[in-house]
Amino acid sequence: MTRQKRSRHRLKRTVAPYLYLSPSLVIIGLLMLLPMVAVISYSFQNSAVLRRDPSFAGLKHYQAIFADPVFWASLWHTLYFTCMSVIFHMTIGMIFALMLNSDRINPTLRNILRVLYILPWLFTAVIIAVIWRLLLEPNGVVNSILMQLGIIGSKIEWFSSPETALHAVTFANIWAGYPLFMVSLLAGLQGIPKDFYEAADIDGAKAYQKLIFITIPQLMPIIISISLLDFIWTMQVFPLIWITTGGGPIYSTEVLSTYTYKLAFSSYNLSQASASAVVILLISLGLTLFYIRYQKAR
């Protein structure tokens, strides 16, 4: 290659990556970063979106939200829903992964069960919501089984009584989400070197000691990163709650996303909804920073 050719080649190498990335960056810039700026500015305007010349509102909408008891209730429900979901996703995922990984079951059975245990994951949130509404109908199969077993005395309206609704939606979400943990932990289990266990066997370690001192520490990076992602995603859940309870009865299952949605599209208070959306964004961003830092430290 001549020198001229080489320098042209080098120029191409410098410009090329930006060209390849440009379609993606344009889309992310215009349809993600710009809207984020927009929603933040809406939250400081009066009658945002609805009027062409909205006036500056200062922190008014944030104050309105923080003064609203329903907002705090939603925040609490979101926390309860999310924490319980993540804890049980992790526990159930771990138990299933350990069971499937055991050398006490035959390989064919293992493969069949693995496919069946993943099933809940393959269903859309809306469909999960509809399935659980059918199961938990007052005249539905869950009540009739529980009554036959003598566990409950009378029919329970799982989704429409304020005492049980939040637990019921959380349960449905636990059912829907554990396979992510199961699949990831199963992959992790297969990556733990066999000689760790052989060495422990020589030292006469018991099964639970191997679990506590080898398996769990080895899986810790996966547990932490999946928990963080699961927490961020569960916090944003909308369709499951929207279809099962719609946030009711009497706000007993209202979470931040349904609260925000209702502000925006039932009361058309888009400014206040934007303020609430920004609060959700800030919580998510905080957790995301934590997640990214964790991933980089690994």
Binding site: K12, P17, Y20, L21, P23, S24, L31, L34, P35, M36, A38, V39, Y42, V49, I95, M99, D103, R104, I105, L109, L113, V115, L116, I118, L119, P120, T124, A125, V126, V130, L134, L135, E137, N139, V141, S144, V183, S184, D201, I222, L229, I232, M235, Q236, F238, W242, I243, S257, T260, A264, L270, A277, V278, L281, S284, T288, L289, Y291, I292, Q295
Partner: protein
Amino acid sequence: MRKRHTTKDRLITVALHVALAAGLFFAAFPIYWMLTSSFKSNTEIFALPPTILPKAFTLEAYAAILGDPVKLRFFFNSYFVAFAVTVLTVLIALLAAYGFSRFNFRGKGSLNTLIISTQTIPPITLLIPFFGLVVSYRIFDTYTALILTYLVFTLPYAILLMTGYLNTLPRDLDEAVAVDGGTSWTALWRVIVPISLPGIVATSVYTFLLCWNEFLFALTLTKSTSMRTVPIGIQLLMGQHAFEWNQMMAMSVLGSLPLLLIYLIAQRFFLAGMTAGSVK
């Protein structure tokens, strides 16, 4: 190595199988119930005691769904939008992934972090500005609105998945093209794309799945019944008929079919997408 066949050992094995059966009941019963209910009549669904297998097996719920052009339209819309977004996403993500995987450039690290962090942006946060934009550009209640907004959520995942895949391919291949005087563009299409098919399939599957499951934007950015997708259709069905549960279950079965089929046929690609980004 285990000690062989002591009583305790056998007990543990039995206990494990009991636990596995309990787990199976927990995981699969709701789905079993959905499936069998879709073949029952609406009265049999609430029969006491519950019937484990449909006593009077009927396809009436499926006939009602498949014979109704309004409901078929939901399916068409879902397939159409999901296919369109998948094609666009894979093309755009492939280019970006190629840039990330094969070049070193200024700002690479921060752009990568940007893309990772966009994965976790709450959809509800973008919904309000999207609504404003969609209305002011007069694309409310159109396919364009859905396709553009879905693209924002599928792209980051697709880029990460594709970059991960391209990073596993040896660089000598495209360098060989460069030695022959070819540009990076030629290398991409002649060499990289043909051997990236597994990665492209995994990315497509995952993108399709994200679109198929989307609810919030479809709910807010469309309005007329003819523009609704399957998830919204199921919700509408719930409001309209006074709880035709068998039809709702039939529609749910039909609405789950594409993902179930993809999963059964291409399990490997499916899981690759589902766990992408979380396990490295």
